[in-house]
């Protein structure tokens, strides 16, 4: 297969190389299969139109062997079981839990992750356990990371991803009947090239809430795939970003309603300054038969300079008739009238702008505690 030198070298290495011996129970064949059959995403494919995936391959080649050992940092309350992939218990949990929710064919980067994996953990919220104390994920030791989350029936789990570096990170979660999974995600400004995948499957009556704030990176791509596989499941995604310099952020979110009575909300607020580039693809898919679905997406974007760019593609794909579905997208700049109003009250231009921008981002995350948690506090 043709491709850039980085791509070709990477493909060859992935197909030839054995794994490091880390977590030998992991079945890596499907990943190798996908790389062999489908290959790596090519430049100019629709999904990668706005992110130069070659530059990420370069990062993989640079970081793929290993990085300096760091202390694995997962802090968890006693009721929640956290096990490193290296332990035999992880194999047990993975085997006992639901099947993988990752569609490797559409997520080849996750296949790269699996073949180069050095850091992984299973997080299990046992049936009926309602934990209020969060699990915190800090820096993990390895450029390729996989956190497997099982929220069992009626359990509730809060997970906080602290800002930390990686080349590729997978958060894979299943939420069983009536389970709750609350996911906070903070992405700090970074000079690295980072991609991640969040893949979540919700059973009947389960609930997932993701709040994500992102500063830019040299290259940052977040793929988020949520499937409402049981009736009456709910998913809420809020995202806020503020980009400067040459920051690049590409968020690709898809929410798929497979069963009736589902509810989903997506709210995004983003600011791009200097020559930053922000991308949001937000997709709502409603399968045949998923009636009484209520799904909505709102994205608002501010451009703060002549060189900044924003690309938005909110999509609806609907195969059921009895649904309520809508999306809205805006791109513009700060409201002159609001600026003028504040200045007429004696607030300086810079301060006024800062207040308005911060307020704009906070529209995404309404509750103050949450805003504080993801770094949007007033």
């Amino acid at each position: 297969m043709a491709g850039s030198p980085a791509e070709v070298t990477l493909t060859q290495r992935l197909l030839k190389g054995g794994h490091s011996g880390y977590a030998p129970w992991l079945d890596r064949r499907p990943s190798r299969d996908v790389i062999e059959r489908i290959g790596l995403p090519a430049l100019r494919s629709e999904e990668w139109r706005h992110t130069n995936v070659r530059r990420w391959y370069e990062a993989v080649l640079a970081n793929g062997s290993s990085r300096a050992e760091e202390a694995a940092a997962i802090a968890a309350p006693a009721a929640i079981e956290v096990v490193d992939f290296a332990s035999p218990r992880a194999a047990e949990l993975a085997a006992a839990g639901p099947a993988s929710v990752i569609d490797l064919a559409s997520q080849p980067l996750a296949a790269v992750n699996a073949l180069l994996l050095r850091a992984g953990a299973v997080v299990r919220a046992p049936s009926g356990i309602r934990s209020t104390e969060p699990v915190r994920i800090g820096a993990l030791n390895g450029a390729f990371q996989h956190v497997l989350v099982h929220v069992e029936a009626g359990a509730s789990l809060t997970l906080i991803e602290e800002p930390s570096a990686f080349t590729h990170r997978v958060i894979e979660a299943t939420v069983a009947e009536a389970g709750h999974f609350c996911h906070w995600r903070r992405q700090a400004r970074s000079a690295e090239r980072e991609c991640s995948l969040v893949a979540v499957r919700l059973q009947a009556g389960a609930n997932y809430a993701l709040a994500q704030t992102s500063r830019g990176a040299d290259l940052r791509r977040n793929d988020i795939r949520i499937t409402l596989a049981g009736s009456g499941a709910e998913a809420t995604v809020v995202g806020a970003w503020r980009l400067h310099g040459h920051d690049h952020l590409d968020n690709q979110v898809a929410i798929s309603h497979a069963e009736a009575g589902g509810f989903s909300r997506q709210t995004y607020r983003g600011i791009a300054a200097d020559s930053a580039r922000a991308v949001l693809y937000g997709r709502i898919h409603i399968a045949a038969g998923a009636n009484q679905t209520d799904a909505a997406l709102s994205t608002k974007n501010l451009l703060a300079s002549d060189a900044a760019q924003v690309f938005a593609k909110p999509e609806l794909e609907i195969h059921a008739s009895d649904v309520q579905c809508r999306h809205g997208a805006t791109v513009g700049t700060l409201d002159d009238a609001a600026m003028h109003y504040m200045r007429s009250r004696g607030i300086g231009e810079e301060a006024a702008r800062e207040l308005l921008l911060a307020g704009f981002l906070r529209e995404a995350i309404a509750d103050a505690e949450g805003a504080e948690l993801v770094g949007l506090g007033a």
């Binding site: 760019q309 938005a312 593609k313 609806l316 609907i318 579905c325 999306h327 809205g328 997208a329 805006t330």
Partner: protein, 488 residues
């Protein structure tokens, strides 16, 4: 609920324009090579530069692949199995009296007036309506253009493109391919190589075209592609309203229609382009029907120029169509108003592109998609604010209405901005004809079929409002007919 079942039973009705005209025709054998391109050019009596232009397009087309990104499914087309030229035999008639009566009857049956006293049929109060000049294109040739005298007096040129190549080569050479370049896409390249006929319009400076201009396209011959080419040039300060209609017989094979339409609006000029597209959509099982793969684009070249597209799409097995506007002139305006109704197994992937280049440019998009039966209906649109489009604005409203549980309604908007002073607003909603709406109408004594038609009409109102009166009535009727039998 009971009524949902009734609505589901919706939508089957004979296609009224599905008859075949039995007329002697000269048809090129199927297949495409340089010889065929030269033969078409020769039949049209074209000058050398035109032949070369076509050959260049053909050579580019051979290196291209059909687009695959649209939300439509169909087997690969064998481009060597299509005939690229079919024309009724005999010389082109000098006047209406010389037109084959069989052809005149065809247009009469379709309600298209080729007599200069007549008006578009199916119009309430037709006696009071303004005259409409018609160019009638039958398979590969224009058979008649009406009101030529009156238009000539106003300085307006309205003729077939073949005639324009002979009579107005300077305008054709300057503008043909200037808005849709030959290699723009696979189908546009194919059209550039083999286009047979179509309409040409030139409105001189500061002239308001004295009547609506209209082209009526009819595919009759079997196994033949139709590749018309339309070019409309509105010179500075002029205005024209142009209408386009189309039908085809019912046949079990799919037929290809790959048209290219180019609009050019100079300073302060306005072009209003309205389409009522009713190509044969295929039967209930999805057999037959037209593949409507069309490239339509307008260029607002001059400052304060304006181009409006209005389309009512009810026909075709597959529609692939994105009437677009390139807003180059400062403060120029682009509009796209669309109603797309799909039923049975029709597939439509349609929308628009608004490319903002000039300062203070404005665009408005209103799209209403109605899906019924087992059809798939997608809106696909691009709004791009380029560097330099300071103060530009776009507003997009995209609504889908679903009738029944086996159809799909999809929305794929691409929003791209590269400057802070531009504003883009996009909104999309999805709804269905609700049991409550239907019951309210019924409770007031309106039967279910009429109620569905009224509700769908209400849903489309924002678009119908932008059509010329004659077409608005026709469009509403067409919609009603398409929905007839909707409620069992």
């Amino acid at each position: 609920m009971a009524e949902s079942a009734e609505i589901n039973a919706l939508v089957e009705r004979e296609y009224a324009a599905g008859f075949v005209t039995d007329i002697a025709a000269e048809t090129l054998p199927p297949g495409l090579d340089e010889g065929v391109v030269r033969a078409i050019s020769a039949k049209k009596g074209e000058p050398e530069w035109m032949t070369e232009w076509r050959l260049d397009a053909y050579r580019r087309w051979r290196k291209m692949r059909p687009p695959r990104w649209a939300h439509v499914r169909f087997p690969d087309i064998d481009y060597q199995a299509i005939s690229y030229y079919s024309a009724p035999t005999g010389d082109k008639p000098k006047s209406l009296d010389e037109v084959d009566p069989e052809l005149l009857r065809t247009y009469e049956k379709l309600g298209i007036p080729l007599h200069e006293r007549a008006k578009l049929a199916g119009v309430e109060g037709a006696d009071e309506s303004a005259p409409v000049a018609v160019d009638a294109v039958f398979d590969s040739v224009s058979i008649a253009t009406t009101f030529k005298e009156e238009l000539r007096d106003a300085g307006v040129v309205f003729c077939s493109i073949a005639e324009a190549i002979r009579e107005h080569p300077e305008l054709v050479r300057r503008y043909l391919g200037s808005v849709v370049p030959k290699p723009d896409n696979f189908y546009a390249a194919l059209n550039s190589a083999v286009f047979s006929d179509g309409s040409f319009v030139y409105i001189p400076k500061h002239t308001r075209c004295p009547m609506e201009l209209s082209t009526y396209f009819r595919i009759n011959a079997a196994n033949t592609g139709q590749f018309e080419r339309t070019l409309i040039i509105a010179d500075a300060g002029s205005y024209v309203s142009y209408l386009e209609g189309c039908t085809a017989p019912m046949r079990d094979d799919n037929q290809l229609h790959a048209a290219v339409v180019e609009l050019v609006a100079l300073e302060d000029a306005q072009i209003k382009y309205s389409t009522v597209q009713n190509w044969y959509p295929g039967d209930e099982q999805g057999r037959g029907g037209i593949y409507n793969f069309v490239t339509k684009r307008g260029a607002c070249l001059g400052a304060r120029s304006k181009i409006s597209w209005t389309q009512v799409e009810t026909g075709s097995a597959i529609t692939w169509k994105y009437p677009s506007v390139v807003l180059r002139g400062d403060e120029s305006v682009g509009e796209f108003h669309s109603v797309a109704l799909t039923r049975n197994r029709q597939q439509a992937d349609t929308g628009t592109k608004m490319i903002h280049i000039g300062r203070g440019t404005k665009s408005t998009i209103v799209s209403k998609g109605i899906s019924a039966g087992r059809s798939q209906n997608s809106y696909r649109g691009l709004v791009r604010m380029n560097h330099g489009a300071a103060g530009a604005r776009n507003h997009t409203q995209c609504d889908s209405l679903l009738i029944g549980d086996h159809c799909g309604a999809h929305t794929f908007p691409y929003i791209e901005s590269k400057l802070p002073s531009a504003t883009i607003e996009h909104e999309a909603t999805t709804s269905k004809v609700s049991d409550e709406q239907l019951f309210l109408c019924q409770q007031r004594g309106i039967d279910a079929e009429k109620a569905v038609a009224m509700i769908v009409n209400g849903f489309c109102k924002d678009v119908f409002r932008t059509l010329p009166m004659e077409f608005a009535v026709e469009a509403a009727q067409l919609l009603e007919v398409s929905l007839e039998g909707a409620v069992g």
